[in-house]
């Protein structure tokens, strides 16, 4: 079938099928194909942008070494870019090259730029890397710098809260979360604040918020466990036990017959831990770890294992 394509007065006859079937705008047909296309373009003229794009596709396929190579070359071609060190730093970190990641981001942070949020992202990235090296105090300074560039960034408040927790800065953690709640209104910062209150043994202060959440929640297990923590702290052992048993019942219904999600497994482990059932707690923490849970789970497993070993020795 033929039709007419008018371009500036001239009439060109072309196949309609060509127009309908042969459509492509920088075609994106899976990362392998994208890599193939980008490689062809790069062979004709290497640019930082093309290398960056190919590195992103390599990363999607888990080919981090190739992503690293492309990003290093991209950084050489465009040393002023702040995006490239962000991406390369992340790849270094994934490859376990934390020192290289820190050095790279430190260098990028010397750049003078009007892009404050990009700068903030670099501060936050270095905070994360330093945190992984257990340099929590330096990480906290970086995180504070990141927050100053963008007061509405929820992720950075969460990161700061974690660093405060690691540094045992309980009051600062609560105050920092108060600031985050004010700036972002984020629900998870409110949850984090309740956790911070419990960690700071401010059980009475935490209880009204927990009760409010319990009243409005369809799924109650996480709030029952938090209330149990508060009640245990206040010496109300029996009512705490009831909460924990109810939480475990609800979790049991939600995990029957399926590979449960790591967040539920962590909850389940915590409930058992609070009930003094350390063996069960450790088993569920291990399952949660295998399911991808990271935050503090490995430390919990170690502590429970040490406790079990201690009891066995006695």
């Amino acid at each position: 079938m033929l039709t007419s394509l008018r371009l500036g007065g001239a009439v060109v006859t072309i196949g309609t099928a060509l127009l309908i079937a042969l459509i492509r705008v920088k075609a994106h047909e899976g990362p392998e194909h994208e890599i193939e296309e980008l490689t062809e373009l790069i062979s004709k003229g290497e640019t930082a942008d093309l290398l960056l794009q190919r590195a992103i596709e390599y990363r999607v396929l888990g080919r981090n070494n190739e992503a690293e190579r492309d990003l290093e070359q991209a950084a050489r071609l465009d040393p002023a870019s702040l995006l490239i060190p962000c991406e390369l730093g992340r790849v270094y970190f994934t490859l376990g090259k934390t020192n290289e990641a820190v050095d790279l981001v430190s260098e990028a942070l010397k750049t003078k730029t009007e892009e404050l949020t990009t700068l903030g992202a670099l501060w936050a990235l270095r905070a994360e890397f330093l945190g992984a090296r257990s340099e929590n105090k330096k990480a906290l300074e970086d995180c504070e710098a990141a927050i100053r560039t963008q007061l509405s960034n929820l992720e950075w408040y969460l990161l700061r809260s974690d660093l405060h927790r690691r540094l045992n800065l309980k009051k600062e953690r609560i105050a920092g979360l108060d600031q985050g709640i004010q700036e972002t209104g984020a629900g998870i910062l409110e949850i984090e604040r309740i956790e911070a209150l419990l960690d700071d043994r401010q059980f009475q202060a935490a209880l009204p918020a927990i009760e409010r959440e319990l009243r409005s929640s369809r799924v109650r297990s996480s709030w029952l466990i938090r209330r149990a923590r508060a009640r245990l702290g206040l010496g109300e052992q029996e009512s705490a036990k009831v909460d924990l048993e109810n939480a475990l019942k609800e979790i049991g219904k939600r995990t029957a017959g399926v590979a449960a999600d790591a967040t539920l497994l962590t909850e389940r482990a915590l409930a058992h831990e609070l009930l003094g059932e350390n063996e069960a707690a450790r088993a569920y923490y291990e399952q949660a770890r295998d399911g991808g849970a990271e935050e503090g789970v490995q430390e919990k497993i170690k502590a429970l294992k040490a406790d079990e070993d201690g009891k066995a020795k006695k």
Partner: protein, 675 residues
């Protein structure tokens, strides 16, 4: 339940755009009338809230008048409820005179648009105190000067009160933002289907990749806002970011053209737990709770902020139906493979367990350029995906076929989810294999209409011609026992065709011809120019002639016939100046070109295209391949943002034959702009 016959009527009469004529395409996309540079569109709605946003070139005195009577827009937006964002260039940037004057201290204090054309003012009006489930007409004014026509198309209906059970229909599409013909066909097919059925959509969900290739502001403008203008002005689009938008927008910071374009609830204003970020959010519509995630660039692991929020949001959800959407599909063998790609396997491994423990009924995604729809399934988190023991109902879900999928009334964990991959709204289609949990895999352009009526949900894939190509239904009633099928139905194995035709680019639907065919060019033959200064402006061209395209010899008709070059190692060099009013408004430049055998194109001295010539240029051009195909083709010019200037520009092209024995030599270019 809804009458299924209602859904079976859909053979659309529209056969869209079998022809392609720039003279008639204005029915599909138009630039908005000045001073508007982006027509008013709706965002972030609730039973009592609506947002209207638009852009102008330069500032206006922004007013939205609205009311329940179209002939009496008796309400007006409060000045305090208007957010203004601007693009005023950067320090030291060369600016056109009108934009220099806009860099006042007052304007420079306004929030900035990430990368919009200089001179852009974006107005976002927050309308509050509205009546639930009520239709309002609205108009945008510059002071007292009305900017939008009184044609009844600028109207909105607020959400029904939360929890209300009433029929609701929404449109779902992904990967459409190409600016090419299939995108328009898919949109038209939806409009035509809903018009014919007398059942318009209430809102729509875009599953990402709405602005190819890298989500730049200009790509948003032409390939999303102008392409869907007719729907955007009266139906709210709830978005999620795709990987293509992710090139220029970042979920970690909430900065970029994607975040400039959309306004979404972050403080739980429309139900759900306040996310505190525009990267992910939730909202209620009647008895449905919707959850949007950022699957592109945020951490998906259980300890991440997004997953913590997701769990908290699901823990609180009280609606009858839960629908989640994001870009990267957990299950696909379309143009992407969920067994190989990290983004996809992580969504399956880390996100799906939380989704299914939370009782979600329907998951809507894009990314993979095909339509895939699963059986009722649960617990498929392993890699590779297998269907054994994860399928709860292996029927087709069609009330007129194997029957609808059945779940218990209310929200219950692990009672089954239907996965829909709707990445077929415009981009090149593709398939890599067979995904065992999918009941349907349809490699056709189209989109999805979802209808929720009480305890029944119906999803339909409508292809680009308006034909219904799939229908499934979920009914939530009573108590339904769950059983897992050890040996469920298996889809037939897909075999990739041995010789797939190589696909080529096409001209954007919304385009302007900058240099037409049969234009006059400066040209040089029989010699090669020294250096590269001939590819730039202000080049004195002694020995160059002027001729009209097409140039060449051999088969075909040439306005400038180059007989002297026959049986020689022929080359030709062309130069032509062209005007661009404002370079940062250009989405794409391309050559519609017939050539033989190879050519290199330059704009203002920078190479922007190379076809059929392996290395070097001019007299040193090497590795020239004989062109096998016949006729004109479209070539997208690369890196134009780096070389295009406001005002006068120069396009230069050199073409070479593969060998001196060649009987044909041809160069017939035109320059096309998507703006």
């Amino acid at each position: 339940m809804a009458d299924s016959k209602f859904y079976r009527t859909g053979v659309c009469l529209l056969v869209l755009c079998a022809t392609f004529d720039p003279g008639t395409h204005s029915a599909f996309a138009t630039n908005p009338p000045k001073p508007l540079t982006r027509s008013p569109y709706l965002q972030f709605a609730s039973p009592t809230i609506m947002h209207v946003a638009w852009r102008t070139e330069g500032p206006i005195d922004p007013v939205v008048r609205f009311g329940t009577n179209p002939s009496n827009l008796n309400l007006s937006s409060a000045t305090a409820a208007i957010v203004v964002r601007v693009a005023l260039g950067t320090n030291g940037q060369e600016l056109l005179p009108p934009w220099r004057e806009l860099r006042t201290s007052e304007n420079l204090r306004l929030p900035r648009l990430h990368s919009a054309p200089v001179g852009t003012f974006q107005y976002e009006v927050h309308l509050t105190g509205l009546l639930p489930d009520t239709r309002y007409d609205y108009a945008v004014f510059d002071g007292t000067n009305r900017l939008t026509p009184a044609d009844g198309s600028y109207q909105f209906t607020t959400h029904p009160p939360v929890g209300t059970v009433r029929p609701c229909q929404f449109w779902v599409l992904g990967d459409g933002g190409t600016g090419r013909e299939p995108q328009y066909a898919v949109h038209e097919a939806m409009l035509d289907t809903t018009k014919k059925e007398g059942h318009p959509i209430d809102f729509w969900i875009h599953a990402g990749d709405m602005a190819y290739g890298t989500g730049r502001d200009v790509e948003f403008q032409t390939r999303f806002f102008e392409a869907y203008d007719r729907t955007l002005r009266h139906k709210v689009c709830w978005p999620t970011m795709g990987n293509h938008e992710g090139h220029t927008s970042k979920g970690t910071t909430g900065v970029g053209p994607y975040y400039d374009a959309y306004i979404v609830p972050t403080r739980g204003e429309v139900g759900g737990v306040a996310s505190g970020t525009e990267a992910y959010y939730s909202f209620d519509y009647g008895n449905i709770h919707f959850i949007c995630l950022d699957s592109h660039d945020l951490d998906r692991k259980p300890a991440s902020g997004m997953v913590k929020w997701l769990k908290a949001d699901l823990d609180k959800a009280q609606a009858d139906w839960l629908v989640a959407f994001w870009h990267h599909p957990p299950y696909t063998k379309g143009s992407h493979d969920s067994d190989k790609e990290k983004d996809l396997t992580e969504m399956r491994r880390y996100i799906m367990p939380v989704i299914e423990a939370g009782g979600v009924d329907l998951v809507l995604t894009g990314h993979s350029h095909t339509y895939e729809r699963s059986m009722l399934m649960d617990g498929a988190y392993a890699t590779p995906t297998v269907s054994e023991n994860v399928i709860l109902d292996d029927g087709d879900g069609d009330p007129q076929g194997d029957g609808p999928y059945r779940k218990s009334a209310g929200i219950h964990p692990h009672e089954g989810t239907v996965q829909v991959v709707a990445g077929n709204a415009g981009q090149t289609l593709g398939r890599t294999g067979t995904q065992p949990v999918m009941k349907r895999t349809i490699v056709e352009h189209g989109s999805v209409l979802v209808n929720v009526n009480g305890d029944t949900l119906v999803g339909r894939m409508i292809n680009r011609n308006g034909t219904q190509r799939d229908l499934f239904s979920i009914v939530k009633r009573g108590t339904v026992p769950i059983s897992r099928l050890a040996l469920p139905w298996q889809p037939p194995e897909y075999k990739k065709p041995a010789n797939e035709a190589k696909r080529k680019a096409a001209v954007a639907v919304d385009h302007t011809v900058i240099i037409p065919r049969e234009a006059d060019w400066e040209y040089l033959t029989g010699a090669s120019p020294r250096g590269m200064s001939w590819t730039r402006l202000n080049f004195a061209a002694p020995g160059w002639k002027t001729g009209t395209a097409a140039f060449g010899f051999g088969t075909g008709t040439y306005r400038t016939e180059l007989k002297d070059l026959r049986r020689k190692a022929s080359s030709i060099y062309l130069r032509k100046e062209f005007q661009i009013a404002q370079a940062d408004r250009v989405t794409e430049l391309g050559l519609w070109i017939d050539y033989e055998d190879g050519f290199i194109a330059y704009i203002n001295g920078r190479e922007v295209a190379r076809v059929g010539i392996a290395r070097s240029s001019g007299r040193n051009a090497q590795g020239i391949k004989p062109r096998e195909e016949i006729g004109p083709t479209y070539i997208v010019l690369k890196d134009i943002s780096a070389c295009l200037r406001d005002g006068l520009n120069l396009l230069a092209i050199e073409a070479h034959v593969a060998s001196g024995e060649s009987l044909d030599f041809r160069l017939d270019p035109s320059l096309i702009l998507e703006d």
